[in-house]
């Protein structure tokens, strides 16, 4: 399949006239060398954030959810906003790995490893919120359906929160397996190049005895396909189920059938934005411009503008339905609590609109799609916007629901709520820094696949063929 002819019109996926050895050298350089100062600075900042997060959670667990500023009307605020936000971010990895693998999108190889790692770390971060938003987190195991001594007491299979438990844990497991199985050949490469015993031993353990035999390759390829097949529906189902947390409720602003596709599109949108943010840094810091090319970045920007527009259509549909349904309650939520800039949370709605719908339209211009600075800036903006979206959905629906008597006072987070959020950033980046240092951030083996078919060398070789006339070509190749 990889011998498929690559058009001259499509730019090469790997630039810089690399050969196989160079690929290995380039990508494994950070693992085999000493970390830079920059790496240390970043890592320590991440660890500091993580520790602050740990302390914030400690306070919340010791003293209670009252350490946050949630109230009788707003039962979920930053906690679930952040949960959905992180889960959304965790979408791109699997989408890139699985769906793009199935669609044979060669360009995924440059970014899939890091994107998958990001997925896993993001899902880890996301998981903290539903766990620690519980009033009695030490009883969290109640959500697991296990045979127990409490008589016929079972979990409630009607509850979307329970579906979440299954959806997120399945997604996490499959993503982890997918990611890890891809890492095995690369670990073996690191092992084989190791200069110290410890390194050899540890990477040897991680490589599961990979020898690179044809049988191994055959199996891992099959495994990839199977896992890709499994993950593909998961990409769609996870955020669909997360959206059910809201869609199956009775609260105006939540009770909406549009949510599943809208959430999935939003998730892909934010996930790609996060991949952009990280990749632009990684390629710069580790000098991997030849593997993560502007072509990659442009491709992802196309996904961003597409999904951003889907999300935009969803927002407008919601507004339309708010009016068309002629429901006072829906109408109030969409037209007063949200679309009215002068209502207490109007700013968050328009912040969302500006970040998610208006600003990505800039990517209709090729120049902008290929501009690193714009891309980086936009990737941040999109994730801010997507955070606003979840905040808008959760808080502006809850704070003024059915009974005007229970409408809430203004909710803004406490330092410990913010701390928890920052802590997940700490967790994410701590993991990511460790990943960048100890794991090949680009799939070495997979790059080598595409090197032959889309590398610069290959293109040069093929230029001759390209220039050939048809009968010459037939003559040459028809043995």
């Amino acid at each position: 399949m990889h011998l498929k002819y690559e058009s001259q019109l499509r730019e090469p996926l790997v630039t810089g006239d690399k050969n196989y050895h160079q690929v290995t050298e380039d990508i494994l350089a950070p693992i085999e060398g000493k970390p830079t100062k920059l790496w240390y600075v970043g890592f320590y900042i991440a660890v500091a954030l993580l520790l602050f997060g740990v302390y914030s959670v400690y306070r919340e667990v010791t003293y209670g959810i009252g350490q946050w500023n949630l109230n009788k009307t707003i039962g979920w605020g930053w906690d679930i906003t952040n949960f959905v936000w992180w889960v959304g971010i965790g979408h791109a990895g699997t989408l890139i790995s699985a769906i793009l693998l199935l669609f044979r999108q060669g360009w995924r190889t440059g970014v899939n490893r890091a994107a998958e790692a990001m997925t896993i770390f993001a899902v880890m971060c996301a998981g903290q919120f539903p766990i620690f938003h519980m009033g009695r987190v030490w009883m969290a195991f109640f959500v697991l359906p296990y045979p127990n001594s409490r008589g016929p007491l079972w979990v409630n299979f009607n509850s979307p929160l329970l579906w979440d438990v299954f959806a997120i844990s399945t997604y996490f497991t499959v993503s982890l397996l997918f990611w890890y199985s891809g890492l095995i050949p690369d670990f073996a490469t690191v092992r084989d190049r190791a200069k110290t015993k410890l390194r050899k031993h540890l990477y040897g353990l991680a490589a599961f005895g990979w020898t690179g035999s044809t049988k191994h390759w055959q199996r891992i390829e099959s495994l990839h396909l199977v896992l890709a097949g499994l993950s593909t529906p998961l990409v769609l189902s996870v955020h669909t189920i997360v959206s059910f947390d809201f869609a199956t409720s009775v609260i105006p602003g939540w009770h909406t059938t549009i949510f599943p596709p809208y959430f999935v599109a939003g998730a892909v949108f934010s996930g790609f934005a996060m991949v952009q943010s990280l990749m632009i840094i990684v390629r710069k810091v580790f000098g991997l411009q030849d593997y993560i090319t502007l072509g990659h970045i442009e491709a992802m920007n196309k996904v961003i503008v597409t999904t951003g527009s889907i999300v935009g259509v969803a927002y407008l549909t919601e507004l339309f339905m708010g009016w068309y349904s002629q429901s006072k309650y829906e109408g109030y939520t969409f037209w007063y609590s949200r679309a009215n800039l002068f209502s207490p949370y109007g700013w968050s709605y328009w912040g969302m609109m500006a970040c998610n719908v208006l600003s990505p339209q800039i990517f209709w211009f090729k120049k902008m799609r290929r501009n690193l600075f714009v891309t980086f800036f936009m990737s941040i903006i999109v994730n801010v916007g997507m955070w606003f979206e979840r905040f808008v959905i959760i808080v502006t629906s809850l704070y003024r629901d059915y009974l005007p008597s229970s409408w809430s006072v203004y909710y803004s987070p406490s330092i410990w709520e913010i701390g928890f959020y920052l802590g997940t950033f700490g967790l994410f980046f701590t993991c990511f820094f460790l990943f960048a240092k100890y794991f090949p951030v680009i799939a070495v083996a997979e790059i080598k696949y595409v090197l032959k078919t889309t590398g610069n060398n290959y293109k040069d070789d093929m230029a001759e063929v390209e220039a050939q006339k048809l009968d010459e070509f037939v003559h040459d190749y028809a043995h």
Binding site: T62, Y63, G64, I65, G66, Q67, N69, L70, N71, K72, T73, G75, W76, P130, H133, M134, G135, R136, V137, W138, M139, A140, F142, V143, L153, W154, V155, N156, N158, S159, P160, L161, L162, V165, D245, T248, S249, V250, I251, K328, Y329, G331, Y332, W335, Y336, N340, F342, S343, P344, L398, D401, Y402, L403, P404, S405, S406, W407, S408, V409, Y410
Partner: protein, 1056 residues
């Protein structure tokens, strides 16, 4: 011979050593010897192993047990006959506080009173209670109660203080016994005995909020210095001029009950009493009025004079047009129902009250709606007496002052002068349960019993006696004040013996005494309404005096009482402090009440602008305004904008700004400051009586902000996207008469897409429906008789161990009340109509909270209860989010001390995240008030109204033990029992005979379910509020008319 394999040279040579080793069991020596050598000589020899083991186990056990809290559950060695663990005893007694007296039943569990219920045998209150009565049980367990006698703030023995006081009094000279109103006839006798012993002594009565004006006016008009019974139940037209008779005026529980009689609607013959309310600052009663007319405080005299003139058919003059029209209308209504009209006024001005008497006389109220057969003993203070007392004290002619119940150092308008004068009194004695402002200044303090520890009697109205008996042995070294007085007057008997002697003759010996204690009350044989002869002589003088009153054109200030706090009786009670004020829905503080119009000019907040209204509502910090009066009184308070307040009038509640000795926990604010400010210094003496208003105050916006903990921030159910009439339904009497089916039609229209009312349950869902056989609990709330007083809320607190969370937490909207009273405004924002809607868990049959809980911690019982399993709850709060009624409450912090994590309250208190009151409420003493039948919830779980599940279980058991089906008499839920107006009905809705079924059938046309269209199928039904106004309702009629027109237009269109 085969080759021999040898393993060692020993074997090869077959040495002796080898031979020996083959013989031995082990070829090589086991490494035992070396160890054996030192074993017994070692530091821990083998034989001592068990010793060490025993010691370390014991030491570990001892050490571990040091950490364990010791909890004692000691069984009775000799069990008292009448105490059965787990079974409650009920004692009839009387809540007596500063002249307020209500006959009650105390529920005593395992020797401690835990709940107060009304006494059904009292014809005055008929089982009704108020928030303050309900909360009074908590005062018994107040941690800041005085625990022993004091001389100069040092603990002494009772004998010592008796000696010292006796010595002091003997040489003191003139002695004055200063009390709040004493309603107890036997205590009056005790005081009389005391006064007889000391020549020159006298008794002065001081009421914090004075009724001197009405007492003196009645003396002038009727020759009786007393207050007659009012019969609001007999009145078809009720006019109140600033008398908050449903909340704080005179006898609110009784009046609420009477008032409800006129407000309860018979659907077949819809008639209602009509209530006009003149007021200056929004009150609970004004909020219930059919029509509220606003005026300035300085106009009160003119309003009354004008009303008298109008009633007498004369022209009204001297008032602005709006007021004039209002008065003419009121007079017309009053005259139309002559003989069934009643006018009351809250003013403490003798002249005003004389004119009110004249109006009532003109309306033939005397003998119809005003009953002189029984007069109130609950207010007896005359301001002139108090003025004279202070003057005497200043002059040094008072040698001894014995104070019971009165607190002039706080509540007298010129408390500074009183405090100065008190210094000149040689012997000062205070009987009090707490070290209030006056008690702190007294040399001798003998702590008094709480009423639940006391003996006594009360004559609430003439002939209506109510008895006080102890329900618990005194908790501290306290003594009933009557005992002290008896002792000092040389009597040899104690008060109990005195009381028995006093009564046994009257009630027929020991048996009769036992009977009255059991009943708690003695009622007069038959109440016949009688008149008193009216003397019109004073009217002319009063009119003349009033016509000379100056009308102010400045901003005026009115002092008012809050329903829960009163004159200050409720200040130190956390339940009352946390009860949202029915009018403002604010807790824990007092504040300056201003009108929306004044807010526009003073604070630049225009509530008619959406954004500004939002900003005002959602932000708890409110503008602090400095209020200054000409007499030098000055306070800074946050402002709340309360519609229904006159644009030129501001109000401050009294009862705040108290000494921290009443309970540091209750009174300390976030910054450790006292809560609120004392407003009594704004009062002044006018024409011999205390006036609770100031004609000219200066307001200055200080620019500071102060957080006020308000539980309801948004007050109207109309939105730009439509009027949420599914939430609340109200209409006017005229509309109801015109079309009795209006509510039914409206409901049917709302449910039309889902099959209309008839088929809604089935067609409103895609799921199958179920039969609900057996018991089905249901509740019904009549919004016409509910006046929003809040008694049910406090009753629910007491019954269900609902934690107090403190101001900081309420400001974060973390209050825990299972039952709240929503208050909505409709109509004119300056003077709106108000409707109250008690809201508790609706126990939906198709509950949205149930299906979202991941662990099935909330589920449905076969009896229709939405149940909460605290043990199973993990606290995701999804149920609370998905509850359309927002009645679910989450334990945000460890409010109860029941958490599995220790020591997580004090650190929060220290860093200012939690009020000290939470610690107070978790004190071992305070926790004695907990209801042992109800779980104390731990942190992190959701809780909500359970329909008093414990009472339901008990009632089913009662019925079962009697082998009969459950009946209504088996149970009352706490809110239902507390309600003075019987607005709440509860029972088995599947039973044909039950009251709930009857009530629902009888009120079918007013019945609605809040948010019915959601198909959550609530089990709480409401009966729409009907207002007795002729004009079509502001929203309802208008909307309806509009729709009709639209439909007409459509029909016409179709016709063409």
């Amino acid at each position: 011979m085969s080759k021999k394999h040898w393993q060692s040279f020993g074997e090869l040579n077959n040495s002796d050593a080898y031979k020996q080793s083959v013989k031995d069991e082990f070829r090589e020596d086991l490494p035992m010897e070396a160890a054996d050598n030192g074993f017994l000589e070692g530091k821990t020899p083998r034989r001592d192993f068990l010793k060490y083991l025993g010691f370390s186990t014991a030491a570990a056990a001892v050490a571990a047990s040091c950490e364990m809290p010791v909890k004692k559950a000691i069984p009775f060695a000799n069990k008292p006959e009448d105490i059965v663990p787990g079974i409650a005893n009920y004692y009839a007694t009387t809540y007596v506080q500063d002249g307020d007296a209500v006959s009650v039943i105390a529920k005593v569990r395992d020797g401690r009173p835990i709940k107060i219920e009304g006494n059904d045998l009292s014809p005055i209150t008929n089982g009704g209670t108020s928030a303050r009565v309900q909360a009074s049980v908590l005062d018994l367990y107040d941690t800041s109660r005085l625990r022993f006698p004091l001389i100069d703030n040092k603990e002494v023995k009772l004998e010592d203080i008796d000696k010292a006081v006796a010595a002091g009094l003997a040489t003191a000279g003139n002695i004055v016994v200063l009390t709040s109103t004493v309603v107890s006839p036997s205590s009056k006798e005790v005081i009389a005995q005391f006064l007889a012993k000391y020549s020159g002594s006298k008794h002065v009565t001081f009421d914090a909020v004075s009724y001197s004006g009405i007492l003196q006016a009645n003396e002038a008009s009727y020759g009786k210095r007393t207050i007659p019974s009012y019969r609001f139940d007999k009145a078809k037209t009720i006019v109140s001029i600033g008398a908050d008779f449903l909340g704080t005026w005179l006898s609110p529980v009784e009046f609420a009950k009477q008032y409800a009689v006129g407000k309860r609607i018979d659907e077949k013959k819809p008639e209602m009493s009509k209530h006009f309310h003149f007021e200056t600052v929004a009150s609970l009663t004004g909020s219930n009025a059919d029509e509220r007319i606003l005026h300035r405080p300085s106009e009160t005299g003119s309003v009354v004079a004008a009303l008298l003139a109008a009633v007498n058919g004369q022209a009204v003059s001297g008032l602005d047009d709006k007021l004039k029209k209002g008065i003419e209308k009121v007079a017309k209504a009053l005259v139309a129902t002559k003989g069934e009209s009643l006018v009351v006024a809250g003013s403490n001005d003798v002249n005003v009250q004389i004119l009110v008497n004249a109006i009532n006389e003109a309306l033939q109220a005397n003998g119809t709606t005003i009953d002189w057969s029984a007069t109130y003993n609950t207010r007896q203070g005359i301001d002139a007496d108090m003025v004279k007392l202070v003057a005497d004290m200043k002059a040094g002619t008072v040698g001894g002052l014995i104070i019971y119940g009165a607190n002039p150092a706080y509540a007298w308008f010129n408390s500074k002068e009183f405090v100065e004068a008190l210094k000149k009194v040689k012997v000062t004695v205070s009987f009090n349960t707490k070290a209030d402002e006056t008690t702190q200044l007294c040399k001798y303090v003998i702590p008094d019993h709480n009423y639940l520890e006391s003996w006594g009697d009360a004559e609430i109205k003439t002939g209506y006696y109510s008895f006080v008996q102890p329900t618990i042995y005194p908790l501290f070294k306290t003594r009933q004040w009557q005992d002290s007085l008896l002792k000092w007057s040389g009597a040899t008997t104690d008060y109990l013996a005195f009381l028995k002697t006093y009564w046994s003759g009257k009630v027929g010996g020991e048996t009769g005494w036992d009977k009255v204690l059991q009943d708690g009350v003695i009622n007069p044989a038959a109440a016949v309404i009688t008149t008193a002869s009216f003397n019109a002589a004073a009217v002319a003088g009063a009119s003349a005096a009033i016509s000379s009153y100056k009308k102010s054109d400045k901003i005026e200030l009115v002092l008012y009482q809050k329903v829960a706090i009163g004159e200050g009786q409720g200040t130190a009670n956390p339940w009352l402090q946390e009860l949202p004020d029915p009018v403002s829905k604010a807790t824990w503080d007092n504040y300056l009440v201003i009108s929306p119009a004044l807010a526009k000019t003073l604070l630049k907040i225009d509530l008619s602008v959406g954004g500004e209204a939002d900003a005002y509502e959602v932000q708890p910090p409110k503008h602090v305004v400095e209020i200054t009066a000409a007499n030098g009184a000055k306070v800074s308070l946050p402002t709340l904008i309360i519609p229904g307040t006159h644009p030129s009038t501001v109000g401050i509640a009294v009862g705040y700004g108290r000494t921290e000795k009443l309970g540091k926990g209750v009174l300390a604010d976030e910054g450790g400051k006292g809560m609120g400010a004392n407003a009594f210094p704004f009062a002044s003496l006018v024409n011999g009586t205390v006036a609770y208003s100031v004609a000219d105050v200066t307001l200055k916006d200080t620019g500071d902000l102060y957080k006020v903990a308000i539980t309801q921030t948004h007050n109207i159910y109309d939105t730009p996207q439509g009027n949420r009439t599914e939430v609340m339904k109200e209409l006017t009497l005229a509309e109801f008469k015109h079309n009795p089916n209006e509510i039914l039609e409206e409901r049917d229209k709302e449910l039309k897409p889902y099959g209309g009312i008839a088929n809604f349950e089935k067609e409103g869902t895609i799921y199958p429906t179920f039969d609900r056989p057996g018991i089905k609990w249901g509740m019904s709330v009549d919004l016409n008789t509910c006046n929003g007083c809040g008694a049910c809320v406090v009753a629910c607190n007491a019954e269900n161990n609902i934690p107090v969370v403190g101001k900081i937490q309420v400001a974060k909207a973390h209050e825990m009340h299972w039952l709240r009273i929503d208050r909505y405004y409709t109509g004119d924002p300056e003077n709106p109509n108000v409707v109250f809607q008690p809201l508790m868990c609706q126990h939906c049959d198709n509950a949205p909270c149930e299906n979202v809980c991941p662990v099935a911690a909330t589920n449905h019982s076969s009896e229709g209860l939405n149940q909460m399993t605290y043990n199973r709850c993990i606290g995701t709060r999804y149920c609370a989010n998905n509850c359309p009624y927002k009645v679910r409450r989450f334990n945000w912090l460890d409010y109860t001390g029941a958490d599995s994590f220790g020591d997580n309250q004090q650190p929060l208190v220290d860093e200012g995240g939690l009020n000290e009151v939470v610690l107070d409420m978790n004190d071992d003493l305070t926790r004695m008030v907990l209801n042992p039948d109800v779980t104390v919830r731990a942190r992190g779980v959701i809780e909500k109204c359970s329909f008093c599940a414990q009472r339901l279980q008990a009632s089913k058991l009662t019925a079962k033990k009697d082998s009969r089906p459950l009946e209504d008499r088996d149970l009352k839920v706490a809110c239902q029992q507390a309600c003075p107006t019987n607005a709440i009905v509860f029972g088995n809705a599947n039973s044909e005979k039950s009251e709930i079924t009857t009530v629902r059938k009888a009120n079918e046309k007013r019945l609605f379910l809040s948010l019915e269209q959601l198909h959550v199928l609530p089990n709480v039904t409401y009966m729409a509020k009907v207002r007795n106004i002729e004009e079509e309702g502001e929203h309802h009629g208008a909307e309806h008319k509009g729709e009709e027109k639209k439909e007409d237009a459509k029909v016409e269109h179709a016709g063409h």
